[in-house]
């Protein structure tokens, strides 16, 4: 129902408001250590990115933090991540690594954030949930003008609650490719654990970015994520989008699951997570 509420509010609140640029003067927040990474059930290189936060009105990309020691352990294995030579701050496992469903993974990082010559240690952990089942996908013209719905058939594990993250690929290219466009939901709305013709994406055919052309190969990836990670994404999306005086609450910093060891006082943001996923796809050949 929350999805419905959100769609409705979006429609109901199309006020004929005007906008104008305004100068805002604020103090700069103290720099934060930003860590974001994941290990999944896919066999691939898994990555952790480490950067430094900046002033809100900074004009350059975030500063990467190099020369960190990054280790992921779990399922009886240890993966040492090495910094990508072309992308400073991006630490990767070897290729061919995968996480095991039902295991808990620990992230360990050692780096000198404040540059005092004495490295600090950071850690986080995440459970890797069992995967969903993906049977197939389909397409349908939506009641919303000029929209096509992407439908999903599949099933969810028989857990008390599941948190889903959906990604849509067109010809191998991720369409919801930024955090604010991630589609995350819980299964509270589902009538049972079976997913039958669930509308997951609404593609506006008047928008070039979303237009489907017959022959396009469309793939939907369904990930099972932890509740903590789902909340991290929701909270981050909420803060990225901002709020309004009628429906929004006061803004707040997005909590992290990354902790400093030994009581280091470094302010930290970001998240480390583990998740499992499955995909299904088909070639788009138009809708009636």
């Amino acid at each position: 129902m929350k999805t419905g509420i959100c769609i409705f509010l979006g429609c109901a609140f199309c006020l004929q408001a005007c906008t104008a640029r305004i100068d805002i003067s604020t103090a700069d927040a103290p720099e934060r250590l930003v860590i974001y990474g994941a290990i999944t059930s896919d066999t691939m290189r898994h990555a952790v990115r480490i950067t430094r936060s900046a002033s809100f009105f900074a004009t350059t990309p975030p500063e990467a933090i190099s020369r960190a020691e990054v280790v992921i352990t779990g399922g009886g294995e240890e993966f040492r991540l090495t910094e990508n030579a072309l992308e400073p701050g991006l630490y990767e496992t070897d290729a061919g690594v995968f996480g095991t469903e039902g295991e808990t993974y620990e992230l360990y990082i050692c780096l000198d954030f404040d540059g005092n010559g004495e490295p600090e240690e950071y850690e986080a952990s995440s459970f890797l949930p069992p995967p969903p089942r993906m049977d197939s996908i389909g397409f349908r013209r939506s009641l919303i003008n000029d929209h096509i719905e992407v439908l999903v058939w599949g099933g969810l594990p028989d857990n008390k609650e599941n948190y889903l993250s959906l990604h849509l690929y067109r010809n191998g290219e991720l369409m919801n490719d930024s955090l604010s466009r991630y589609m995350v939901m819980d299964d509270e709305f589902l009538d049972g654990k079976e997913v039958t013709a669930a509308s997951c994406f609404f593609l506006d055919q008047k928008e070039d970015e979303e237009t489907l052309v017959p022959g396009d190969r469309i793939v939907v990836r369904l990930d099972l994520i932890t509740r903590d990670y789902a909340e991290f994404i929701w909270n981050a999306q909420s803060e990225i989008q901002g709020s309004n005086p009628i429906f929004g609450g006061p803004p707040a910093n997005v909590p992290t699951n990354i902790r400093a060891r030994n009581g280091a006082a470094t302010p930290i943001s970001g998240f480390f997570t583990a998740y499992s996923g499955r995909s299904a796809g088909r070639v788009y050949d138009g809708v009636e």
Binding site: I7, A58, P61, L143, E188, A197, A198, I240, P251, S269
Partner: protein, 773 residues
């Protein structure tokens, strides 16, 4: 409790003379339409004592046998003197003649002459329907709540909103009553208009702190709106056609001087133009609201009168795939009974309901509905015993049964993939027993005292009840359906004094404790129609407010000018806020989203008001601060409440240019709303996530706005059918007051952010044709 009652009776009784007295009592009404004049003064010339008529226009004076001159007065009416020989109890009903035909007799107050200085109640604002009508209105819609937002100590919660904050309190801390029934959501069209149709309104009183013991249940204020009884002398009508709505009010006698009726309706018609839109979605859309007020009254005899009042209003929005409607319904049945000339009573049965529903119909799988509802059923018995002139005791009992249905709905139809959900209904009983009195001690000192005992009882719905520790459920209990499983009672004392410094000036002081047992689950500043309310419980303590106030009051030039300066301090306990990123919409376990703490507010209000004359209106300045400290919010540090606005100024002026034209203007200035701004950022998956300052550490730019209006009479006042045209210009100098500020990426430089304000209104001109017959 009995000891307190005894104390009141003794205090009141001991101050009464023990000699034999007779009572003169009756009602004070308008000569033309028979409407009772709430707050009209009766003064005994010989004893220099007096009383004010109550909410039904009833007065009672007890005097020693003799001959007296009674002076009946009300602002805007010609004073009338009546000689009374009192050798037995007398009934004396009096009608006063409006002096409104004279240009210099325009009135903006709805209270008795001099009451500003002589009434021991402080922190109270009266507005007449006439005053409200003169204030320039947004889109021509005359609005009570927009009018009270111009009063000192009252702030709009956001641009254009019908939500209001009183002395730094939240918008859900205002008890809004329409003919004694609670109105839970007093706004239409996402808050831009209030539910009150001014044509049906007789009297508006806002208590900003010194809430009488008769009322309770909210911390900050009481907005008491009373509708007209209906013209008991002749059939008449009022109406208007505006740019976005039209309205019509009909009233008249059913049985001459015995019963009358009032019927009033208003509807917007913006949706009627939607079929002309180019956009197909827009053509299929619905967008309107309406209000209906009805009132009947019947006077059986001088001692018995019955009133039946009802209100129903609803907003409807719909597109071809989604819809929403919401609104209030209230019904009040009142019976005034005069047991003896000294004992006046009113018995009230109240029903009030607020509900909303939403529908979504994207396809057969995504066809959903969601409904929420609140219902109140109440009974009240209120008594006033008049000991002597100026000394009375009010006492009574009230009970309200609350039924809250926080949400139910889900998928519709066999193909819906979404299941059905019904959040547990919550039930509670709210009782109150009260006694309050006023006593004169000598000629200069008046004492006001009262005690209210409120009791809130949660009633089991037969389902599991959670008990929380550290905001997490630690155990559950199940009680039989209908069983009271949790009770909480609290005393709410009231006290005040008035010291007459001179016949035209006084000093007042007061103390009020108020308790709030139900509150809105909203963490936005102005609230929305989708907000649900929740009750105090085993996990949620009632909120408490102790307010101390004092002030200086002075009238000039035969009450034409009123000056007041008031100071107040409010200490708040068990203050409720919501955890960071709280999910309140569609959330079953709201109690786990709450966080508790304390707060305080203080301020000063200054007001100069000119009640009569061709140029009338008021100028006010308010200094106000409001802060909170809530567990786990803002790292447990004190922070500004969303309603902390240090400085605000309101100027409302009306000038009667001649018998044909009148001009009005109001100008408001207020410090910007507190806001939490981003001060840093980090990047995740291609998006910049903000890092924020402390809660409400910054402010929006200051708010100011000028509104203008001009009214031209199109027909002479002596004609039966009269009409006028009102031209208004909202935000006359086009100030871009930010409604909100958003942060966006520069298109050409995605790593660079900029701030953009959204402002709702620039110039908003409108024209309305009003008529009466």
């Amino acid at each position: 409790m009995m000891r307190w009652l005894l104390f009141f009776l003794l205090l009141s009784g001991s101050l009464c003379a023990q000699e034999r007295r007779f009572t003169v009592s009756g009602t004070i009404t308008d000569q033309v339409d028979g409407e009772s004049l709430i707050g009209a003064n009766v003064r005994v010339v010989e004893t220099r004592s007096g009383v004010a008529a109550n909410a039904y226009g009833y007065y009672s004076l007890s005097l020693s046998p003799g001959t007296y001159t009674l002076q009946f007065s009300f602002v805007g009416y010609a004073t009338r003197e009546v000689q009374v020989q009192l050798r037995e109890n007398r009934k004396l009903n009096v009608s006063l003649e409006s002096s409104g035909s004279q240009l210099d007799a325009v009135v903006v107050s709805s209270k008795g002459k001099g009451a500003h200085v002589t009434d021991p109640v402080m922190s109270v604002e009266h507005l007449s329907a006439g005053t409200i009508k003169k204030i320039p209105a947004m889109m021509g819609e005359v609005d009570i709540i927009k009018a009270i937002q111009l009063l000192p100590g009252v702030q709009s919660t956001s641009e254009g909103s019908s939500g209001f904050s009183v002395r730094g309190g939240s918008h859900d801390q205002n008890l809004v009553l329409l003919d004694e029934a609670t109105v839970y959501s007093a706004s239409h069209l996402m808050g831009f208009f209030s539910v009150f149709n001014n044509d049906a309104v007789k009297d508006v009183v806002l208590y900003k702190g010194d809430i009488p013991a008769t009322f309770g249940g909210r911390l900050s204020s009481l907005l008491d709106v009373r509708t007209k009884d209906g013209n008991s002398r002749k059939f008449s009508g009022t109406g208007g056609i505006g740019l976005i709505s039209s309205r019509l009010t009909l009233e008249g006698p059913i049985v001459q001087d015995r019963s009358s009726f009032l019927l009033s309706g208003r509807r917007t018609y913006a949706d009627m133009f939607l079929p002309l839109a180019n956009d197909e979605n827009l053509r299929k859309s619905t967008l309107y609201f309406y209000d209906l007020n009805a009132k009947l009254n019947y006077r059986f005899n001088d001692n018995n009168r019955l009133y039946l009042a009802a209100y129903h209003g609803r907003d409807k929005f719909a597109t071809n795939f989604a819809g929403m409607d919401f609104g209030n319904t209230t019904v009040t049945l009142r019976w005034n009974h005069v047991f003896t000339p000294r004992l006046f009573s009113n018995f009230t049965a109240i029903g009030s309901s607020y509900s909303y529903s939403m529908q979504l119909n994207l396809n057969a799988q995504l066809k959903e509905e969601w409904k929420s509802k609140m219902e109140d059923y109440g009974l009240k018995a209120d008594f006033t015993y008049h000991f002597t002139s100026g000394q009375n005791l009010k006492f009574g009992y009230q009970a309200m049964y609350h039924v809250f249905i926080p949400g139910q709905g889900g998928g519709v139809g066999a193909d819906a993939i979404i299941g059905r959900i019904s959040f547990p209904h919550t039930y509670a009983l709210e009782h109150a027993l009260y006694a309050a009195g006023e006593t004169s001690v000598g000629s200069r000192l008046k004492l006001k005292y009262g005690l209210r005992y409120s009791l809130f009882q949660n009633i089991s719905n037969g389902k599991e009840i959670e008990f929380l520790e550290n905001y997490q459920a630690t155990r559950t209990e199940t009680y039989a359906k209908g069983k009271i499983y949790h009770s909480r009672g609290l005393f709410e004392p009231r006290a005040g004094l008035l010291w007459m410094l001179s016949p035209a000036s006084s000093f007042k002081a007061g103390y009020t404790r108020t308790v709030q047992y139900i509150q809105m689950a909203s963490n936005s500043t102005s609230g929305s129609p989708l907000d649900v309310w929740f009750q105090s419980s085993q996990n949620v303590k009632p909120q408490l407010c102790d307010q101390y106030s004092m002030g200086f009051f002075r009238n000039f030039s035969a009450d034409a000018y009123e000056l007041s300066v008031e100071l107040y301090y409010k200490g708040l306990r068990n203050v409720i806020d919501f955890k960071d990123h709280a999910q309140l919409m569609g959330e079953e376990k709201i109690e786990q989203e709450l966080r508790f703490g304390k707060g305080y507010a203080y301020g000063m209000e200054w007001m100069l008001r000119k009640n009569t004359g061709r140029l009338n209106g008021w100028l006010s300045y308010t200094y106000s601060r409001s802060r909170r400290k809530i567990d786990r919010i803002n790292e447990n540090r004190w922070y500004r409440s969303p309603y902390d606005k240090p400085h605000s100024i309101s100027l409302a002026a009306n000038f009667e240019l001649n018998s044909k034209w009148s001009l009005s203007a109001n100008w408001v200035y207020a410090s910007g709303n507190p806001v939490t701004f981003p001060t840093g950022r980090f990047q995740i998956e291609g998006d910049y996530v903000p890092i924020y300052s402390g809660r409400n550490e910054y402010r929006y730019p200051d708010y100011h706005r000028l509104d203008l209006s001009a009214t031209v009479q199109l027909s002479p006042k002596e004609k039966r059918f009269r009409s006028e045209l009102n031209f208004s210009l909202y935000n006359a100098y086009g100030r871009k007051n930010p409604w909100t500020i958003q942060f966006l990426h520069e298109e050409q430089a995605p790593d660079t952010m900029y701030a953009e304000q959204i402002y709702l209104f620039s110039f908003v001109p409108s024209v309305t044709w009003n008529f009466t017959f």
